[in-house]
């Protein structure tokens, strides 16, 4: 793959160029925004507001990038249009919900001193965790439900990925994309409805551990006044978590033999097969990894917004746009597009910008997608001939 740079000096050079580009983009976009906003509304757009929106963009972008990463892995390796990928993200979030429900599983104790809404004696729920570990330790365990579910989610999501691939998707490798869309869309609906059957349609609050409640004051660290740039801890955790996951996936593909074969398979599946390598088995594993990445993105997302059964569909279209803007078959492209669209979405939600162009926050992602696809025929880093027929 041309996007992976193999020789070390080239890596250094490209790293430097990337950093220089990011630096220029950071200050360039700030100056543009400041000038435009100042020119049109007379407001002084401060660097603090700007940094805040960059943080927001990175945070949103990390969710987009994680979902798009898994989606493009499946696209790139298996050539399958997976409309059920959003459902995997949603399943991840519901692993967190389930774990937190299981941990706070309770038995009822009747409290004679209080009454419920019908005037009967109130039944107080006492979690089993209290019985097992005492109230204090029990509370801590319940409180840490979301981090605990990360560990549980990995095997569950990998297993779901395996089952999906072996049980359904593998029969569709040679079928037209249209059939893949229909079957995975059907699967997404089925998964969604099963979750709805058990958990209802309402969002279910799944808070982060108390230790992560509250915000970090960047302003003080950067020499501004207190409270000027504050950002919630959990969202920062989400960002770093996604960077780690993305890094791990790249390292896995870059530095392991397994990854090398998969990359070779992405580039030319038939030749790899002729060489006598069982590419199918590796692709199954890739599907499991992609499912796990989507699932983890979902687990960690649960405290940011209360999970509901249709959250996968909400992200589905967006993640397709991210993948395509990044360019089909390109992992770095998907990640870059995720962060780019996240940041631009944040810029578009600045109130002065909305005042200037009403409705821009409604359409920014699609507008950017159109502009990029018209100027760069295969998205940011797409390869020729992938999904173009």
């Amino acid at each position: 793959m041309s996007t992976y740079v193999e020789n070390p000096s080239g890596t250094l050079k490209s790293t430097f160029l990337t950093l220089a580009f990011l630096f220029a983009a950071f200050w360039g976009s700030f100056l543009i925004l400041r000038t435009v906003i100042g020119f049109s509304s007379g407001d002084n757009f401060s660097i603090q507001q700007y940094i805040l929106q960059i943080l927001n963009g990175l945070d949103k972008g990390s969710a987009y990038a994680l979902i798009a990463l898994g989606l493009t892995l499946i696209f790139g390796t298996l050539g399958v249009v997976n409309f059920a990928h959003g459902a995997l993200f949603m399943l991840g979030a519901f692993v967190a919900v389930t774990v937190s429900n299981l941990l706070s599983l309770s038995h009822k104790v009747v409290d004679e001193t209080r009454t419920d809404f019908l005037g009967n004696p109130l039944q107080v729920e006492v979690p089993y965790m209290y019985d097992l570990f005492g109230q204090a330790a029990g509370d801590v365990i319940i409180d840490w439900a979301v981090p605990i579910s990360i560990i549980i989610a990995i095997p569950i999501m990998v297993a779901i990925g395996f089952i999906m691939e072996r049980g359904l998707i593998k029969y569709f490798y040679k079928r037209p994309h249209a059939d893949q869309i229909l079957v995975t869309f059907g699967l997404a609906i089925v998964i969604q409805e099963i979750v709805k059957y058990f958990y209802g349609a309402n969002p279910i609050p799944t808070p982060a551990p108390d230790a992560f409640v509250g915000s970090f004051d960047f302003g003080i660290a950067l020499g501004f006044q207190a409270n000027e740039i504050i950002y919630p801890y959990w969202r920062l955790v989400y960002f770093f978590f996604s960077v780690v996951i993305i890094g791990a996936v790249f390292a896995f593909l870059q530095f392991t033999t397994f990854g090398m074969v998969v990359r070779a398979g992405m580039a030319d599946r038939e030749t790899v097969g002729i060489l006598g390598i069982n590419i199918d088995k590796r692709f199954t594993i890739m599907f499991g990894i992609a499912a796990a990445v989507a699932g983890l993105a979902g687990v960690m997302y649960a405290p940011i917004n209360s999970p509901n059964y249709h959250m996968g569909m909400d992200f589905l279209v967006l993640s397709f746009v991210v993948v395509v803007v990044g360019g089909m078959g390109s992992l770095p492209g998907a990640v870059a597009a995720g962060f780019l669209l996240g940041i631009l979405e944040s810029f578009a939600s600045i109130s002065q910008v909305i005042d200037m162009i009403p409705g821009i926050n409604q359409i920014i992602i699609y507008l950017v997608a159109i502009i990029i696809l018209l100027t760069r025929p295969r998205g940011l880093m797409g390869r020729k001939g992938v999904m173009e027929e």
Partner: protein, 447 residues
């Protein structure tokens, strides 16, 4: 289970044995009483059109429970619920005008197209005489217009936009639920008492009709008491993460954030606002505050602990102590095991009000029913003395200002009532500018 026959056609068929060639214009069934879907002698069909799929499915399910309960009570089953506390005693638990009440259900999907398709199938296929339900203003307005055209009475479910009885009002449509204006009028004095009149508000508003009317209502009533509006920002309906809208609020010079959001939007924006520490923050030397103009218990549940201490308004709450509310909570709670939501309450009441109006009018003719409902004054249905105003078909009754409870006793005990704002304080003239445009028109019996 009894063998049920839901179709008006079932009634008609007896009169149509082997009458090939006998043709009737569907909307000109003169022998049936001169109006659409006139019921037969044994039963009458009501159409319950609620969201069963999509984000409001749980609210729709609760509405459906209330409807089933209402039908049971109308047919003389159960403990009668609010029928015993209702100030009008026309209803006797013998169905409506002696006809057994049957019902059909449909899925609005919270989309105006799907809701109208479902309502049309109830009218055309099942012969429903009245359509009720819904959990959003878009759907309510769309179905209301459809019922006007078809000559059916529409008893709106949960719909809060001013437009439903404002610029989009229809003669065949009736709303028991309160509206944006009432929320603003009820909230303002409570907010003034709690937060003072030297406040700067920042509005985040859902970018569609309901959001616009709610923002307008809250803005004008808070500005009237001396608050200043610093900024108003529109957010897309499809937004799930509100961080980029919330983040700038703290440095905007505002000290109150008003979230004109409902449903999933409200759950997420409130959760995000609390994440960004707005509830603990200080601004302009005062505690920063968040206000949610329209609360619903189901949505408060979705936001979890984030609702604590946050003011909002609601149409009704199960902890009300009047006899009507108590009776309703008792029969609903006994049947389903948990207290009803405000959506369930308004749907139950609407069904009783319709049945009562038919009974008092002595006819199912929509025009007679409308006449019986117009300027009807009643009590005992949970919101104190209430007037169904004839000029715009809006109910005027007490509005509840509620606050997220700090120490809930159980999973339903999320809101506490701060004040019951008397009806007089939320009443407005029918030609109020926030309700301008549109006309009621005349009632349409369909024939």
């Amino acid at each position: 289970m009894s063998k049920s026959n839901f179709s008006r056609r079932g009634v008609l068929k007896t009169g149509m044995v082997a009458s090939a060639g006998m043709a009737l214009p569907q909307y000109l069934r003169a022998q049936d009483g001169g109006f659409t879907n006139a019921p037969g002698d044994s039963d009458v069909v009501l159409g319950f059109n609620v969201p069963q799929t999509g984000p409001y499915a749980d609210e729709g399910a609760d509405e459906l429970r209330a409807y089933e309960l209402a039908v049971e009570h109308l047919n003389g089953g159960g403990d009668g619920g609010m029928m015993s506390t209702f100030s009008s005693d026309a209803l006797e638990g013998t169905g409506i005008l002696g006809r057994e009440v049957k019902y059909v259900t449909g899925d609005t999907q919270t989309k105006s197209d799907a809701a109208r398709a479902s309502a049309r199938s109830m009218i055309e296929k099942d012969g429903a005489i009245m359509i009720t339900g819904g959990s959003s203003s878009g759907v309510a307005v769309a179905v209301q217009a459809l019922c006007q055209e078809a000559g059916i009475i529409f008893m709106a479910g949960l719909t809060h936009s001013n437009d439903t009885t404002g610029k989009d009002k229809r003669a065949n449509g009736f709303r028991h639920f309160f509206n944006s204006y009432m929320s603003g009028a009820a909230l303002a004095p409570v907010l003034e008492a709690a937060y003072g009149n030297n406040r700067k508000a920042y509005h985040l508003t859902a970018d569609y009709n309901w959001g616009y009317t709610t923002q307008e209502a809250v803005q004008s009533s808070t500005e009237a008491m001396g608050w200043e509006t610093v900024n108003t920002v529109l957010t897309p309906l499809t937004q799930t993460d509100f961080s980029s809208y919330i983040a700038p609020v703290l440095n905007s010079g505002a000290d109150v954030l008003v979230l004109n959001h409902y449903g999933g939007n409200m759950v997420n924006s409130l959760t995000n606002a609390v994440q960004f520490g707005l509830r603990e923050a200080q601004a302009n030397g005062q505690n920063f505050e968040i206000v949610v103009p329209l609360y619903s218990r189901l949505m408060a549940k979705g936001a979890g602990a984030n609702v604590k201490g946050i003011f909002g308004s609601t149409n009704w709450h199960w902890s009300l102590q009047d006899a009507g509310s108590q009776a309703f909570v008792r029969s609903f709670g006994t049947k389903y095991g948990f207290p009803p939501s405000q959506a369930a309450h308004t749907c139950y009441v609407q069904t009783l009000l319709y049945a009562d109006a038919v009974t008092r009018a002595g006819s199912f003719n929509p025009c007679a029913v409308a006449e019986a409902l117009e300027d009807f004054e009643f009590d005992g249905l949970g919101n104190g003395p209430t007037l169904y105003r004839g000029e715009d078909h809006q109910c005027f009754k007490d509005v509840l200002v509620v606050k997220g409870k700090e120490n809930p006793d159980n999973e339903f005990d999320l809101l506490e009532i701060v004040e019951v704002t008397p009806a007089a304080q939320v009443t407005y003239p029918a030609d109020h500018p926030q309700f301008a445009g549109g006309a009621l028109g005349t009632c349409n019996p369909g024939a």
